[in-house]
């Protein structure tokens, strides 16, 4: 069972990383215009940065 001491924090860390990544994308305005982002990929030379 000693492996738990290593595995439990490791899996929690992975989960936390995903949570942090989601929080970052939320703060970076990546969900403000889902339709526009889907359209922008079709346009050459489009400005694909998230809006400020």
């Amino acid at each position: 069972m000693n492996i738990l001491v290593f595995l439990a924090p490791f899996s929690l860390g992975l989960g936390l990383m995903a949570l942090a990544a989601f929080a970052w994308s939320l703060r970076a305005n990546q969900y403000d215009d889902p339709e526009g982002d889907a359209a922008r990929i079709l346009i050459d030379d489009a400005d694909d940065r998230p809006p400020v």
């Binding site: 929690l12 215009d33 346009i43 809006p51």
Partner: protein
């Protein structure tokens, strides 16, 4: 209805906002729908020398244009967009509340944290559950698992529960108890007892239940928020849409563009053809015709000349007018209507929603049950520790999470279904109110009828030559004539005589189109239709009659509503004859003509006073007060902004049938919500006694809770699946 700018040269600098050195223009572009639109608009505008950057949000259809320092040409930008085929309206983002949805972000972050917490607490709870079924788990590993699940669950639950704790605290301070009070009490007690059990190496810890409860509740909360946000967004967008600026003449007689709110009594105001009269005023100079159909419901344009009074909001049709303002913008008739609308909206906000009614019934029962369990267990000599565990088990198992999901899940699927049919629902409460409606009041112009004149004499021999003149004019009758004739040449050297008609060369011969007197006849046949006369100079004039046509599905809609045992009435501001015609054609016996906006609102209040739940369907400014006072209100998408913002539901202009569809869906949503409540009650009836008897362990609690939420959500999805 988007404000259009007939002359691209109009001064729009009042709409450019400056923060720091950068000048910004925000526009609503309702026509932008696809990747092609996005590329066309952004690339085209970026090529403008004065533009620093242009960014279109395809979800909200808002375009933000930043100008290079020192250069701002708003009129050129709008002209550019018009040339590309898109109508654009300036708006003030400060007034658009939904610009950055802070509350939504907090909810979704809380939802993410609760999701993380629920899954990772579960990772440590599953071994503990296995222990309940006799699987071996040493006491040391057991304690480790309990501590680990507590370490994950406690911070997550405290963070994710914040929206509930804050709302519960606010409501308690106001001396009331809303649904969030039992939720907060339940979650905090569960966490506290689980922590105590962990410290004392006890049997059960409900950490996972507390976090997954929050997760499920947050899903319901977020669905409700999205529905409300879309509604508020639509309403705020309407407020933020700025009407075209007024043009004030300064002391030297030069036109200066100013925001309408800055106009004062005594100012000289210039109104060009195609613009709306910004303010109540008296005509100083010029002659024209005003279209007041959105103000009063009258279909016939009214001629005006110097000395006459005009009301703010009327559309100037043919000639340039110089007006003397009689009141400032906030004292105008328009602002008076806006105040009536506010009063109506307040009376409507007192409506108690279905879920709150259920909560008022549910909260005292559950808390009494939990208290009774605690006292009962003590009385049977089980000890305070066991007693409190059982009381908490009752709170967890009867958690209102199915109740919290029951209504939002139904309403979001119902409004999504209506959205696909072209009906925008502004709030969940609107659906609940629509389902209760027993009486429908229709406005005539623009609701039962198409709201624009149609040529009756479509086979007239003078149609083609008359249309050549008509194409040169913006007058509604002339445009109806041009529409009836289709594409064709425009008369040469056409000239519009304000309030009278047009002259020009048709196939080289001088001709006239306009009022009877202008064309040269004194035959004056009184009729309910509007008319134009056309003649080549020196020849006998011919008459062209116009009438407002019924919407094609008006009769079917009225019949369908009658089949649902709903009574129908027409309240119109138009003259008696056309209203009587429409009522006769549709077989409606209750109708009133020539009703003022105030009288319409009074009629609504009167109906409400008798306890009649009324649906008002209207599109004009004269309907807004009545819309706001009705139990529920609908407006067509072509309606004036103010009418759309006063209405609960907005349907796209295609057909009136949307009223019946919306009613049916609202009824079925109500039935499903009540079914969900019934299911929750049944579930609690079984689960609560089991919890009181101590038959519930953490594993059963987790199963029962997610099971009931899942059942309620699946039932809600049936709204979307039908047909």
């Amino acid at each position: 209805m988007a404000v259009t700018y007939p002359e691209a040269g109009a001064d729009l600098s009042a709409f450019v906002r400056r923060d720091g050195g950068a000048a910004r223009l925000d526009l609503l572009v309702p026509g932008a729908r696809c990747a092609g639109c996005l590329a066309k608009i952004e690339l085209e505008l970026a090529a403008e020398p004065s533009v620093e950057a242009a960014r279109l949000n395809l979800t909200t259809r808002k375009l933000s244009v930043t100008f290079r320092t020192g250069k701002a040409e708003p009129a050129r930008i709008i002209g550019r967009l018009n040339a590309l085929g898109y109508a654009a309206t300036p708006f003030d983002p400060a007034k658009a509340a939904a610009e950055r949805d802070r509350e939504g972000r907090r909810l979704i972050l809380a939802l993410a944290v609760a999701g993380f917490g629920a899954m990772n607490t579960m990772m440590f709870s599953v071994p503990l559950w296995a222990g309940l079924f006799g699987q071996e788990l040493g006491p040391a590993s057991r304690t480790l698992m309990m501590w680990l699940s507590g370490a994950v669950a406690l911070p997550c639950a405290l963070f994710a529960g914040m929206p509930f704790f804050q709302s519960a605290w606010r409501s308690l301070r106001a001396g009331r108890a809303n649904m969030d009070v039992p939720i907060s009490v339940g979650v905090l007690l569960t966490l506290g007892v689980s922590l105590q059990e962990t410290l004392l190496h006890g049997r059960d810890a409900y950490f996972d239940a507390a976090v997954s409860l929050l997760f499920l509740l947050l899903v319901g909360r977020w669905l409700d928020h999205r529905l409300r946000l879309r509604a508020q967004g639509a309403a705020a967008d309407l407020l933020a849409l700025q009407s075209a600026p007024g043009v004030r003449l300064d002391a030297a007689g030069h036109p200066v563009s100013v925001p309408v709110a800055d106009l004062r009594a005594g100012d000289l105001v210039l109104v060009r053809p195609g613009e709306r009269v910004p303010i109540d005023a008296r005509v100083e100079d010029g002659a024209s015709e005003l279209d007041a159909s959105l103000l009063t419901g009258e279909t016939m344009p009214q001629p005006v000349r110097p000395g006459l009074h005009v009301r703010g909001g009327a559309l100037n049709l043919s000639g340039t007018l110089t007006l003397r303002a009689l009141a400032s913008a906030e004292d105008s008739a328009l602002a008076g209507l806006a105040r009536l609308v506010d009063a109506g909206a307040q009376s409507r906000s007192r409506y108690v929603r279905l879920a709150d009614k259920a909560a008022a019934l549910y909260v005292p029962i559950v808390h009494t049950l939990a208290a009774a369990t605690f006292l009962g267990a003590c009385a049977f000599g089980l000890g305070a520790r066991e007693a409190i565990i059982r009381a908490v088990a009752v709170l967890i198992i009867t958690c209102p999470c199915a109740l919290g999901l029951a209504v939002p899940a139904v309403q979001i699927t119902a409004s999504a279904r209506l959205f696909r049919k072209g009906v925008l629902v502004k709030s969940g409460a609107a659906l609940e109110r629509l389902a209760e409606v027993r009486h429908v009041v229709f406005d005539k112009t623009g609701v039962l009828t198409e709201g624009r004149p149609v040529l009756l004499d479509a086979d007239s021999p003078v149609l083609a030559p008359a249309a050549q003149l008509a194409r040169a004019s913006h007058h509604p009758l002339a445009q109806a004539l041009a529409r009836a004739a289709g594409e064709g040449p425009i008369a040469r050297s056409a000239q519009e005589v304000s309030g009278q008609g047009l002259t020009g060369l048709v196939d080289g011969r001088p001709a006239r189109l306009g009022r009877a007197g202008f064309v040269g006849t004194d035959i004056d046949v009184p009729s309910s239709e509007s008319e134009l006369w056309f003649a080549f100079d020196g020849e006998q004039p011919s008459r062209l009659r116009f009438s407002d046509r019924l919407r094609p599905d008006a009769a079917a809609t009225v019949a369908a509503l009658k089949a649902r045992a709903i009574s129908i009435e027409i309240l119109s501001g138009d003259a008696e004859a056309p209203v009587a015609d429409v009522a006769r054609m549709l077989g409606i016996t209750r109708w009133r003509a020539g009703v003022t906006p105030e009288a319409k609102a009074e009629a609504m209040k009167g109906l409400a006073g008798f306890g009649v739940k009324t649906l008002m369907v209207g599109d004009g400014l004269n309907d807004t007060a009545a819309l706001a006072h009705a139990h529920c209100a609908m407006a067509p998408g072509a309606a004036l902004d103010a009418a759309q913002s006063a209405a609960d539901l907005v349907f796209s202009a295609e057909g009136l049938q949307a009223v019946v569809e919306a009613y049916d869906i609202a009824r079925s949503a109500r039935t499903l919500a009540l079914e969900n409540f019934g299911f929750s009650a049944l579930y609690n009836l079984v689960a609560a006694p089991a919890a009181m008897l101590g038959l519930i362990n953490p594993f059963v609690a987790a199963l029962a809770m997610s099971g009931s939420s899942l059942a309620v959500t699946l039932n809600a999805l049936r709204t979307g699946a039908k047909r």
